[in-house]
Structures are given as structure tokens and as C-alpha cells.
Symmetry: C2
Subunit: 516 residues, 2 copies
């Protein structure tokens, strides 16, 4: 694609149109695994983790700090002692058996529907950043307009399968009403699937109502259209906020990620295998509870993983133990036949420097090899999630496109033709002019657009620009070229009416719960 | 390790000693694979590549542009037509059967000996850079002193299993005599294993003579002590320089890498599977020839892989097709039961920016999952190999240490104890003070020293330093702390005498062959 060359020589509306025509923003299909996954555990070791986790659920129990959940569990036959629920392994297995192993996410543009689960994976942008690094690389608090820009970028980046929800926290709007504007932004600026806020049960209900306006409630009861996330408090605690939000989603049969929040060594034991055993117990308890609420509702085995530096207490990413834990969790989720979620491109770098690159790529490769289905935080994450970088957002998205290509496996379609080319060219020849090359070069080898592979002389002639600045130029170009996939006018009006009514009802407080 | 804190408050010899005592430079053992490898091909697909490669060797043939090799092949029963050697698959299989599938590299310090091949891998620094980025981040031509510094760093970085040879090209010494000084530098500044120059048959013979001074010729005939690299010219050509060097090594039974040099799409077909089929034919032809020279001599299936941008003609790295090809080549090498070499941390970035990080980490993860035994170019590579970055050198080495940890797999030793900790801590507790944590935290989770995972306020208070500058500080500290592992005085004198004699014999020309 000679986008930049075209962009620099033409001007105005005609030029932008030319760029759009040469820029392919068609979403990649859901990734279908074409490579075998990395499985570090033998069947016996999988059984050992399962047995350890079930033992924890039976003997130690899990705290559900929520009266409704405790009552639900009693009715379901669990052994409830105070706030601690002891779960028999037979009960857990019976409950999770009704979780669908695969389903289809429906987007408002049916071309963007996504098969999900088993051997299908999707890439979802990062969320929850209290800061951004903007198009001028300034680190500051984000606004609704910044959030809209990230939704626009997610819409235009082919490897992003979702626009998520609050990629960045819009600080220019009262926190108590923010979920409404965030949801509207996800729905308005893209026609891909998205996420729903779970910052409180009430907020989650608002998301469900807005989704019902967009898709219809009856339709939602048959089709997943949105995803919620419920974080656990490791070790072994689920709280009222998250459980209430989970119930709101489950009533509409919308999938939630059941995500223990692991700081390895601080809220789990200091070790890979026992951390996975604990996390697995936590995830199972929440997965089981989704089926207590609503049998057959889709649910996703989740987790947020970091390890803690024992020198500073800081969370770390891109480390070997996180890779191993991802691979092991993948095995456990497949053992239970449930879809699972992981986190991609994590890192603790403060700028978009080489540290950020190493951390993100190492994490992505491990996550892909682990076979995670819901690959969250796939673009923009930096500084341990404290900021979303616009530059990194577009580079990560290109990395995901490369990961998508790799995990799709090897193409054998033209193997025999290509062997004929070897015979035609012979020793000492070259392939550049051969008909097989001319026919296949465009798709044979991925050509990253944000990596510079030119000779240094050419790079210097182009201004000696490092990847952060090149990526910011790409961000500006994308936002310039953005075209809104219009909402139906009636639906748009109904959504705006709903938001206006709810904003009258909800006090504009500024100190409610924050999502992670 | 509180190295920096100590370094900043103390001064002089005592301070350096204190730092040394706190800095562990003990070499990691050879990596033993503790994870299953990623194998993208079915057994049928492996057989299909094998059949295609053997068909190429039989029907198309391989050019050996070297009269001695052609004569050798005739005697060995090959069908030689002009410079093209047609190899029957039966002959190829019979020849490669005598290549050892594993052996032990012997270093001058026996503590640094390395089991090699099958499920053992080693990390070797990059070589051949005509420029370096130095401790002041200046890009310039290197000197012998720079080369010595890289050998010192390789000596001190635990994950580096070798000091290689001409990590950078010492431009301050005549090219015709350079191989002598390079070899001496590898031998002198470290007691790890190293590589030997193959820039000409004569140069390779000098390397063998110098190794004989260090180890004894009889010893060398029984023990691999050095590694040479012989690049092929794809498609399907081996030249006189490389073949002569190969013969020099094989006569001493020292291992060579048989490395087709692939620019995918330019000198191979535009496709992953056919490129592997051609490369495999090329590698097999050279592996087979090593056994014609000297039956039973160790040899390593090699390759250099890049794909070519069809937009600019530039070689690319860190791309999905290179990862796939690495995984496939690993399967082929295991099918033939020979050790194999790959390239690590490749990339085309011009500075140590995020591009460099992504490319290096993506390559490393794929290379590890592929099970490569000789993991060359594992530190310092940047700008498509045009420069070796001192900063990147130390960061890459830490990445290799992390990769080593990951590929070692999951530790189950303390699993039951750790589960007891879960029972002790219970829901809502924390692990930081638990005896199991105190006993295990140092080794449970890798703590990268060159990644900054602190909060931004701490990072700002520390001077807001990005990884390039942090790494350069580490380079300065390491070089300050370096202690030479002294050569035996008699050996040292004999080596110096040999070099002096050869430098009198060899004209100080400046336009001989260059190694890649």
C-alpha cells in the first residue's frame, strides 16, 4: 500500500478519498487456530491442577460477599458457612457443563459477526486507562472525544475484532453517568462487537437496556452481542458489585468474563503451578455461579495475570512465568470445555520504548500459542495499564494482524506450482520475475507497514523517524480518513433518549466504583 | 540485586569488588527443553517436504562451484554434470546418518562445557556487524577494542553460552589478518565456547591451528571446541570459499553450520512451504558433503532466514512467515535427527526503539518454540545486522535468560507445600509473609533488571530514563566490573607467537572476502 506516498502528493477531499480506497479496513475474520497449541502439562498434571482446585473449593471455600449470591448458592445445594461457599466438585462439574463451548458474537453489522470459542480467537483493545498518550505523545487524562478516537481507530484496524468499552476513562463526564456515554460511543463509532460496563449492577443494567434498544431484548436472549468483565479479588473472594453485574448480564444471557485478578506472589502462592491451581478454583466458582443464575448462559473463563517484583512490589509483565501460566490456563479451560480469556500486549514501560515492544511481543506470542479465545488488552496497553498509547495502539494492532497470520498456519495450496518454480529457476537463478512470484508475492509474506526495514540511508532521507512518531502519523491519517458507520436514525434517537432520561435520574456524583 | 545503589555510593576497587560479589555472572546451563515444541506440520506434510527436497536434489541438483568438492562427490558416487551435483535420496540419507545428533561443546573452562543437540539449546551472540552503536549510542565502525568489549560482555552475561567471533568487524586492523585477532579476542576475554572464522579456507586453517594451541589437536579430533558457519547462495549453490573452510573444520572434526541464506521471495519461491522445501534441499546437500569429507564429523543444519518486502526489496524480520519457517525447519531437522541452527532477535530497526523490541521478542519466542539448538544472533542485532547495539546486547541477553526460564517448563517440586499455603491464607488473605513465599519468592518469578516496572512517579524521580539509556549504564557497569579469566601464560605466548608469524606471512591487504 503506498498510502503515505499518495497522501503526501495529493490534497483535500479527493486525496482522502484516494487514501480510503487504498486503505483496507476490512475486519479480519476471527482467528481460526492453524497451529498446534503449546501444552506444558501432561494429562496427569492437568488432573493434578483440577484435583487441587476442587480440593480448594471443597475445603477452603470461596467468599461470595453478596447476600443474593449466598442465597442462590444455598438453593443450588452448596455448603454455605457465613460468607464462605464450599463447593463440592460434583456440583461444580454439573454446573459448568451447561456453559456453551462456542457461540457467535453478533455485531450490528452482520459482516462483523464472529464465531467464538474452541479453535476461534478474537482480539479486543485494552480498556480502563486513566491516562492516554495522545497524538502529540502528551500524557494526560482522557476525554469522551479521546475515547471516540480510540473507538474510531478500533473500527478501522483490521485485526481489532471489537471496540471494547472504556479504552480510556473519559474524565470530562461525571463518573456516575460515564457508563452511558461509553456504551453509546462503542455503539456509534463502530459496527463491530463491543464490551459492556460492569462498574455496578445498575450500570450493567443500563448497558443491557441500551443493547436491547440496539438489538432487541428477545434477540439478545438468543444471541451474545456484548461482553462484560467480572474481576475476582484473589485469593478466593467475589464481591457484590461484580456479582450484581454478572446477574444483570446473565439475565439477558450475555457473556461475562470470570476473571480472578492475580498478582502472583502477593495474592497467590510464589509459584506457577500453585498460582494456577488457586486461580482455577476462583474461575470455576464464578463460572459455576453464572449457571446458577441462568443455566446455559454463555460465560468465559477469565483471569488477569501479573507477577509481582519481590524487590519493589511492582506488577511485572512479559515474564516467563506469565507465559507458562497462560499456557496452563488454556489447558484447564479446554479440559472444562469452556472458552477462555487472557490479556495481550501487557507491559510496564512508561513510554513506547523498546521495553514496551519486548513485553508486548513476548506476551502476544505466548498468548497465541496458549490458544486463548478472548484476547483482551490487545492494543494500546502501556505503563501497567495506567495509560493507553495512541502510537502503540496502531502498532499493537499490526502485531495482532501478524499473530493472526502466524496462527493461521501454513498454506499448502500452491505448493506444487511453487516447486515447479524451483525447477524453472534452478541453481543460481532468482525468483523475482517468475510468474509464480508475480502471482503470489502480495500475500506470501506479511509486509508490516509500521516497521521500517529500509537501509539507514533511506531512513535518514525520510527524516530518521522512530516507530513512535511513525505510528502517531498513522493515527492522524486514520482519524482523518474515518467514516462513521451510521446508526439507524430511530435507534440513535432511542439511545439518546435513554441516556438523557438516565442522566436526569442519576446524580452526577464523582466518586463511585471504578472498573479495572 | 542492588547493584546500582551500591555502585553509586561506594568508590574505587573496594566498591567494584562489592558489586562483583553481588552480580552473578555464572553461565546458565544449556537450555534443556521443558515445553513441547510447536510443530505446524503433520507427519504427512513432513514427508511431503522431504520428498520435494529429495526431488530437487535428484532432478535439479545443487551447484558446488569448487573443483575439490566436485571430485569428492564423484568419488562418493554422485551424478556430477559440470558444476551441478545430482544427489540420489538414498545417498543423501546414507551420508547424513553419520552426523552426531548430539555432542558436548568443550570450553577452556570445563564448567562452561555445554551439552548440545536434541533437547539442548544454546544462545550465541550476533556476529558480523560492520557498525556498532557504542556506549554513547554513536553509530560508527568498530575497532578491536570494541570487539573485546563485546567479548567481555558475552563473558559476563549468564544467558550467553558463547562469545562467538567477530560480533563486530574490527576496522582498525587489516582485513586479511583480522581473523587472527578476532580468534585471539574470543579466546582471551572469555572462557566460554566461541566461533571460528570461515572467511577463507586459509583463515579457517589458522583458526584450527590456534584452537590446536589452546586445546591440542588430538583433543580436538575427539571434542568439538569451536563452530564455523558456511553460508550457501540460494538457490542451490555452494561456493569454493565456504566449502574450503568447511573442509578445514571437518579435518579437525569441528562442527560447521550448513546455512542456506534465504531472502524469501527473492531467492526462494514466494511461499512458506516451498521456501522450506528448497532450503531443506540446500541444507541436506551441505550436510551430506560434510560426511563425504569426514564421516562422523559433527555438522549442524543451518539457515539464515528473512523475507523480502515486495514494496522495497528490503529484508524483513519478526514476521509471521519467518516464525512458521523456523517451526517447520525444526521439524525437518528432527526428522533427519541432526542438530539445527537458527537466528534470534533479528530486526530492521535503525535505533533501539519499540520496533527493535517487537521484532526481537517475536523472533525469540518463535525460535524457542521451534526447538532450535544453536540459537545464533541472540544479542545485539539491529538494523538488519548492519549494527550491533551495546544497549540491545545486554537487554537481549536478559530476554534470553527469560526465554531460558520459560522453555525450562513448570516446576512442580513445591506444589503440595504451596497448596498448604493456599489453605493457610484462605479467602481474602495475602501471601507476602507466608513461609512458603519467603522461601520461594527469589526464584519463583523472574525479575527483569532492565525492565522498569515502577510507578511513573518513581520512574520520573529516577530521571525518566528509557531502556536504551538504562541498558547503556548497565554496559558501563559490566565493563567496569570485568575480570579476565586468564589464559595459561604458555598458551597465551604460543598464540601470540602464532599470530605474529602469520601476520608476517599474510600481506596486510584490505580487500579479501567478508563473512556474513
Amino acid at each position: 500500500m503506498s498510502v503515505d506516498a499518495v497522501g503526501r502528493t495529493r490534497r483535500g477531499r479527493g486525496a482522502r478519498k484516494a487514501i480510503r480506497q487504498s486503505r483496507d479496513i476490512t475486519m479480519l475474520p476471527a482467528l481460526k487456530h492453524g497451529l498446534p497449541l503449546v501444552e506444558p502439562m501432561t494429562a496427569e498434571q492437568v488432573a493434578r491442577i483440577d484435583d487441587a482446585s476442587m480440593g480448594i473449593l471443597e475445603d477452603v471455600g470461596v467468599m461470595f460477599r453478596d447476600p443474593i449470591a449466598l442465597a442462590d448458592w444455598k438453593r443450588a445445594g452448596a455448603d454455605v458457612r457465613g460468607e464462605t461457599v464450599h463447593l463440592d466438585r460434583g456440583l461444580v462439574r454439573a454446573l459448568i457443563a451447561s456453559i456453551p463451548s462456542r457461540f457467535t458474537y453478533v455485531a450490528r453489522n452482520p459482516a462483523n459477526n464472529l464465531p467464538f470459542g474452541e479453535d476461534h480467537s478474537i482480539f479486543v483493545p485494552m480498556t480502563g486507562a486513566p491516562y492516554l498518550r495522545d497524538v502529540d505523545d502528551a500524557r494526560r487524562n482522557p476525554t469522551l472525544r479521546d475515547l471516540a478516537d480510540f473507538h474510531k481507530l478500533s473500527h478501522m484496524l483490521p485485526a481489532m475484532h471489537s471496540t471494547a468499552h472504556h479504552i480510556v476513562e473519559p474524565y470530562d463526564h461525571p463518573i456516575s453517568q460515564r457508563h452511558l456515554r461509553i456504551t453509546y460511543s462503542s455503539m456509534k463509532y463502530s459496527d463491530k462487537t463491543f464490551m459492556g460496563m460492569t462498574t455496578s449492577p445498575k450500570n450493567a443494567e443500563d448497558v443491557m437496556e441500551m443493547c436491547a434498544i440496539l438489538f432487541g431484548k428477545e434477540f439478545m436472549l438468543q444471541n451474545p452481542v456484548v461482553t462484560g468483565n467480572c474481576n475476582g479479588n484473589s485469593p478466593l473472594v467475589w464481591d457484590e458489585t461484580m456479582l450484581g453485574a454478572m446477574r444483570a448480564f446473565a439475565r439477558y444471557r450475555q457473556p461475562v468474563l470470570c476473571s480472578p485478578f492475580v498478582l502472583g506472589g502477593a495474592n497467590t502462592p510464589a509459584g506457577v503451578a500453585p498460582s494456577v491451581a488457586q486461580l482455577n478454583a476462583e474461575a470455576l466458582s464464578a463460572l459455576a455461579y453464572t449457571q446458577v443464575i441462568q443455566k446455559g448462559t454463555p460465560a468465559i473463563y477469565g483471569h488477569y495475570l501479573s507477577t509481582v517484583s519481590m524487590k519493589s512490589g511492582a506488577p511485572m509483565a512479559g515474564t516467563p512465568e506469565i507465559s507458562l501460566m497462560n499456557m496452563m490456563i488454556g489447558q484447564m479451560a479446554r479440559y472444562y470445555d469452556v472458552p477462555w480469556r487472557t490479556s495481550n500486549t501487557l507491559g510496564g514501560a512508561k513510554t513506547f520504548d523498546a521495553q514496551a515492544g519486548y513485553e508486548s511481543a513476548a506476551t502476544m506470542m505466548a498468548v497465541l500459542m496458549s490458544g486463548a479465545n478472548y484476547i483482551w488488552h490487545s492494543a494500546g496497553w502501556n505503563e501497567a495499564g495506567m495509560h493507553c498509547s495512541m502510537a502503540k495502539f496502531v502498532v499493537d494492532a499490526e502485531q495482532c494482524a501478524m499473530g493472526h497470520r502466524m496462527m493461521s498456519g501454513v498454506n499448502w495450496d500452491d505448493f506444487d506450482e511453487a516447486l515447479q518454480a524451483v525447477r524453472d529457476v534452478g541453481p543460481g537463478g532468482h525468483y523475482l520475475g517468475h510468474p509464480h512470484t508475480l502471482e503470489n508475492f502480495q500475500r506470501a509474506f506479511f509486509m508490516p507497514e509500521l516497521f521500517d526495514n529500509n537501509a539507514i540511508e533511506q531512513w535518514q532521507a525520510d527524516g530518521a523517524v522512530e516507530i513512535n512518531e511513525r505510528a502517531l502519523t498513522r493515527v492522524r491519517d486514520l482519524l482523518n480518513d474515518y467514516e462513521e458507520p451510521r446508526l439507524d436514525a430511530g435507534v440513535d434517537e432511542a439511545l439518546r433518549d435513554y441516556i438523557a432520561r438516565r442522566e436526569r435520574e442519576i446524580p452526577a456524583a464523582d466518586a463511585l466504583n471504578q472498573d479495572h
